[in-house]
Subunit: 581 residues, 2 copies
C-alpha cells in the first residue's frame, strides 16, 4: 500500500481528553476517531489491526471445533424477561421499544439468544457438546465511558457459549478454551497471564480471566515466576510461613507509645521491623437468624507488614464492615490505635478473633496494650495468651510470597482483562427451560460455559503493553503493515524513484505487507509518522545510500540502523520476518 | 469439514410463515433462524455463504481504491438533527435515549457519521477524492418485516461514501463504483442488470440500481438484448415508432358500440387490433399560483395496446390524479368509456391534451365518439383533427420495444435490488458544513456520492435466482462448500471408510473446500440434505463402486451421475473447479 492511496491520519497534538497512553496513541496514530462518548470510528489503519486480531481469534476458535454464528445485535426483551436479567441488569443495558411498542435491547452479551437457539435446535444428547461463537458488536451504556476503546460503549467482542450434558463435558470444553485463549494471546505476541478469577456470588464454578500485563492495568495480579499459576491478587492464596515459630526470647513488657497508632509509627518509635508488630483490625460482622438481624464485633489479626484482603474475609465471615472508633471504644474499652488481642481488660464479654495464617508463627512481637498510649513488646503466643483458634488466609499476597502451587515465588503485576472464560452451569438453561433428551430418554437441563474476548480492547491493551515515547511498538502479528519503505526525497530523483518502486514491487511479490511512503514530505516527518504508527521494520533508500548501493534497515526497537546491500534487502527481510512469525 | 463436526441444521417441513422461496430454503437448509420479527441468527452454514459475499465485496472495494473503516452502529441524534433527517425520517429510524437522556439512533445508513468524520479529517482539496466504505450491521424498523433476510430489520450492508471537489471527480468515482459493482455481481455468479433508477424529487443526479434477475423480484426492469442498457420499467424511454404514419385509406364514420367501453371490448366488437384504437385517459392536474390552487382537466392519449406510465406523466405534468366519472361527464359532456380527442361537442371550453409518441403515427384508427354508445372508426390525424401538439413519452415500455440506446430490443424481467449507487451532491455536506480549502484557498462545500450493497440480501437474491424443487443451487463462488463427499454405509465397511478418509484428505490437501458427510444415516437422507443445501459437486463412494474401483460424480444441476475411476477423482475435480472459478 502507498501512503498516497492509504492516507495516514496522524496528529501531532496529544488529545486533551485522552487519559491513558493507548487512547492517546490510538488517536495520534490515526487508528480511531471519537464519534461521541464511548463511540469510536475505526479508521483504515486501526481497522487493519482490529481485523488481524479478529482473524487470529477466528482461526483458533475454528481450530478448537467451535462453530461460528452471527446473532442479531438487537435482542427481544421477552427473552431477557425469561432469564430474569431484564430486571436485574442496570442501566448499562440499553433498552428501547420498537415501532410496535415491543421491548428490545442492544445486546451486551448473548446468553439469552444462544440459549433460545439451542433449546429449539438441540434435541438430543447426541448433538452435544456444542460450542457456538460469534465476533460481533456489543453495546453497554457505561455510566462513564473512558480510555478510548478500552472502556467504550460500543465495542467488538468474540463471545462463545458451550452446551453440555454433564460437568465433565463442560470441563473438557473449558480446558480446551483455556488452551485456545492461551494460543490466541501467544500468537498475538502479548505477554499475558491466565488468572484464576473470583466467580462472585455464584461460587464454586470455575472462571479464569486472561490479562495482558501492563503497568497501567486496572487489576493487580499475582503470578508465579516458575509455573503458570496466576490469580487476581484478591484471590491468590497466601500460604502459612514455612518456618516454625521461634521460641520466646524476652519477657512481655508494657511500653509507652504516646501518639503512635499506625504500624509505621510504632515500628519507627520502637525501632522494630513491621513484621514484628501484630496489627488488630476491628470489624462488625452481619448476622441474622429467623427473626432478627444484628452485628457482631470481631478482631482481625495480621502481621504488621501484611495487608488485609477484604474479599477473603468476606468469604469466611460473610458480610462485614469496619468498626467505627466509637464501636471499638465500646467493645474494647480502649480507643483505636492501641488495641490488641492480649490483656483485654475493658472488654464487654468475649472478643471474637480471626488470625491470619502468618500470625501464629510470630514471636517476641509488639501489639497494642488495650490502653491508650501503650503497646506491649516481647509478646509470645501460648506463654502470654493462647495461640488464636480461628486461623485463616485473610491477607493479600505480596511480591516474593511463595506461589500457592508450591512452584517458585509470586510476582505482582498489573493486568488488563481481555478475556474471560466461565463455567455458567445451569443459570440460563434452567430459567429458559433449555433441555435435551439424555441417554435414558429423559429431559435434562443443559450445562453451559461462556467464553469472551474483548476484540477492540485487545488492540488498546497491546499498545498499553508495547509503546515508547515515540509511539506504538506493534507485536509483529498486530502491525497494520510489516515493513515501511521510506525513500528520501524520491520526488527529486528519478533514479531513486525507480529503485524504490522496484523494491516495493519485490517486497509485495514476496507477500510482505509493506507500506510505501511515497509522500512528498520531509524525511523527519515521515520517520516520526512511521514510528508513531509502530511499523516493526523500516527500510530507507536515498541518493546517498544508492552511491554505495546500500539501503538502511532499522527495527522499531533497534537503537541503530544498519546498512545492507540493496540486493540483500528482500532476502534479509524474508529471513527476519520468518524468524519472528 | 465433517458433518459430525459441522452439524447441518436442515429441516423437512416448510416453515409456515415463509412466503418466498429463498426464505423457505434458507430456513429449511439451516442457513438462518428467526429470533424475532425481522431479526435472524446466521447459523454456521449460512454464515459461510455470507462471508463469501462479504469477502468478494471487500476485495473489489479495496481494488477500487476505497478505504475500509468501521463506524459505530449507534449514532448520536444531534448529527441527524444537523442534517435535518431526525425529523424527516419516519418510524423506520429506531430512536432511543441513553442513560443520560441523550438522543441516539440505530444507523439505517451512515451519511451523517461519515460527513462528520470527513469535515474534521479532510481539510484540503489535496486529500480528495476519497471513498470510505464499511461492511456493517444496519437497523431499519420496517413496519412489516418479511421474506426472511430479504426485508429484515437488522441486516448486513456494505455502504460507501465518496467526497469530491467537483462533479467531474464524483462522476469518475461513480463510474468506478459502477464497474466495481458489475465486477462484484459477476464474481458472485449472479445474472444481474445495472438499472438506471429514478432519483425522485432530487432530480438531475445520476443513480443506478443493481438488480439480481429473478421471477419473484419486486421490481420490473427493462433491458436491451444487445447492449447493457437497463432501466426500471417506470423510467425506460419509449421511442417514437420508426415508421412514418400510413396515409388515410377510409373515411371517418360513427358506429354504434353499445356497452363497449374498454379497449378489449371495442377491439373484439369491431374486430380491430388494440393498436388501431386510441385510448383517452382523463386526469386532473394540480395547479397553483401565488394566491390560489386549482385543478385542470386533461386528456392523455395512448395507443390501445400501450400502458400509461404514471411516473413519466408526473414528471411532465406535475402532480395529478385520475378524473372521476362525474368530472369526465362535467368537462366532456359525455360519460367515460366513449370519450376521445375528436368532435368534442359537449365540452366546456378547450380540452388540454397530451399524446404519447406513438399516437401521431396512428392512422385509420378507432376512438370514442364523445357520445354514449358510439365510437368513431377510420379516424385520421390532420384530415379529421390536427395532430396533437403536445407529444411526450408517457407510456411504459413493452417487451420487444426498441432499446432507447438504439441497440437491440427490450426485454422485461423482474429484479431484486441488491445494490444502489447514487450521486448525492451537496445534500449532507451543505447541511453539515463539510467544506475543504480549494486551490484558491477558499472554503468549498464537498460533493458526495454513496454506494450500497445489501450483503445479507444478496444471499437471499442468489437463492431466488438459483434453486429447484430439491433446494438451493449455489453459484460456485457462494457455495458454503465446493464439494460434498458422501460415502454410502461407511460405518459398516472399514475398507470404504479408509477410501473415503483418504479421498477427503486428498481433496483437502488440494485446497478444495469439501464437506465430508460422515453421518451414520441413510444415503437418501444424505443426498436430500446435500441437494437442499446446494453443494455444487457431489462425489459418492460405496462398496459396490469400490468393486470396480470407481466413484460417482454428479453436479448439482446434472441429470445423471457419471462414474470415474477412483484415482481420477481429485484431478477431475481440480479441472472442473478451475474451469468454473
Amino acid at each position: 500500500m502507498r501512503t498516497s492511496q492509504f492516507p495516514l491520519n496522524t496528529i501531532k497534538e496529544t488529545p486533551a481528553d485522552a487519559e491513558v497512553v493507548s487512547h492517546k496513541l490510538m488517536l495520534r496514530a490515526g487508528l480511531i476517531r471519537k464519534l461521541a462518548a464511548g463511540l469510536y470510528t475505526w479508521l483504515p489503519l486501526g481497522l487493519r489491526v482490529l481485523r488481524k486480531v479478529e482473524n487470529i481469534i477466528r482461526e483458533e476458535m475454528d481450530r478448537s471445533g467451535a462453530l461460528e454464528v452471527l446473532m442479531p445485535a438487537v435482542q427481544p426483551g421477552e427473552l431477557w424477561q425469561e432469564s430474569g436479567r431484564w430486571d436485574m441488569f442496570g442501566p448499562e443495558l440499553c433498552r428501547f421499544k420498537d415501532r410496535h411498542e415491543r421491548d428490545f435491547c442492544l445486546g451486551p452479551t448473548h446468553e439469552e439468544i444462544i440459549t433460545d437457539l439451542v433449546r429449539s435446535e438441540i434435541k438430543s444428547y447426541k448433538q452435544l457438546p456444542v460450542n457456538y461463537y460469534q465476533i460481533q458488536t456489543k453495546f453497554r451504556d457505561e455510566i462513564r465511558p473512558r480510555f478510548g476503546v478500552m472502556r467504550a460503549r460500543e465495542f467488538l467482542m468474540k463471545d462463545a457459549y458451550s452446551f453440555h450434558l454433564n460437568q465433565e463435558s463442560l470441563q473438557e470444553t473449558y480446558d480446551r478454551m483455556y488452551e485456545t485463549y492461551s494460543r490466541i494471546f501467544k500468537r498475538l505476541g502479548l505477554r499475558f497471564r491466565a488468572v484464576l478469577a473470583d466467580t462472585g456470588a455464584i461460587g464454586g464454578s470455575m472462571s479464569h480471566e486472561f490479562h495482558v500485563l501492563a503497568e497501567s492495568g486496572e487489576d493487580a495480579i499475582a503470578f508465579s515466576d516458575q509455573s503458570d499459576y496466576a490469580a487476581n491478587v484478591e484471590l491468590a492464596e497466601a500460604l502459612a510461613p514455612a518456618e516454625a515459630r521461634q521460641p520466646a526470647s524476652r519477657p512481655m513488657e508494657k511500653v509507652a507509645t504516646p501518639g503512635k497508632t499506625s504500624i509505621a509509627e510504632v515500628a519507627e518509635f520502637l525501632n522494630v521491623p513491621p513484621e514484628k508488630i501484630l496489627k488488630a483490625i476491628a470489624v462488625m460482622i452481619a448476622k441474622r437468624d429467623l427473626d432478627r438481624e444484628w452485628e457482631e464485633f470481631c478482631l482481625l489479626l495480621l502481621r504488621g507488614d501484611h495487608e488485609l484482603n477484604e474479599v477473603k474475609v468476606g468469604k469466611i465471615l460473610g458480610k462485614f464492615r469496619f468498626a467505627t472508633d466509637d464501636e471499638i471504644e465500646q467493645h474494647m474499652g480502649c480507643r483505636a490505635g492501641y488495641i490488641g488481642p492480649i490483656q483485654i481488660t475493658g472488654a464487654k464479654g468475649v472478643i471474637n478473633m480471626v488470625a491470619d495464617r502468618a500470625v501464629p508463627a510470630m514471636s517476641d512481637f509488639v501489639c497494642g496494650a488495650n490502653e491508650k498510649g501503650f503497646h506491649l513488646v516481647g509478646v509470645n503466643w501460648d506463654r502470654d495468651q493462647p495461640t488464636p483458634l480461628h486461623v485463616h488466609d485473610i491477607r493479600k499476597v505480596q511480591e516474593g510470597d511463595p506461589s500457592p502451587d508450591g512452584k517458585g515465588n509470586l510476582h505482582i503485576a498489573r493486568g488488563i482483562e481481555v478475556g474471560h472464560i466461565f463455567q455458567l452451569g445451569t443459570k440460563y438453561s434452567e430459567a429458559m427451560h433449555a433441555t435435551v433428551l439424555n441417554e435414558e430418554g429423559k429431559n435434562q437441563v443443559l450445562i453451559m460455559g461462556c467464553y469472551g474476548i474483548g476484540v477492540s480492547r485487545v488492540v488498546a491493551a497491546a499498545i498499553e503493553q508495547n509503546h515508547d515515547e515515540r509511539g506504538i511498538i506493534w507485536p509483529e502479528a498486530l502491525a497494520p503493515f510489516q515493513v515501511a519503505l521510506t525513500p528520501i526525497n524520491m520526488h527529486t530523483s528519478e533514479r531513486l524513484r525507480e529503485v524504490a518502486e522496484h523494491l516495493y514491487n519485490a517486497l509485495l511479490s514476496e507477500g510482505i505487507d509493506v507500506l510505501f511512503d511515497d509522500r512528498k514530505i520531509r524525511p523527519g516527518v515521515m520517520f516520526a509518522d512511521l514510528e508513531l504508527i509502530g511499523i516493526p521494520h523500516r527500510v530507507v533508500v536515498s541518493e546517498r545510500l544508492l552511491e554505495s548501493n546500500q539501503a538502511e534497515y532499522k527495527g522499531r526497537q533497534d537503537g541503530e540502523a544498519i546498512q545492507i546491500p540493496l540486493e540483500e534487502v528482500v532476502p534479509f527481510l524474508r529471513t527476519r520476518l520468518n524468524s519472528i512469525g
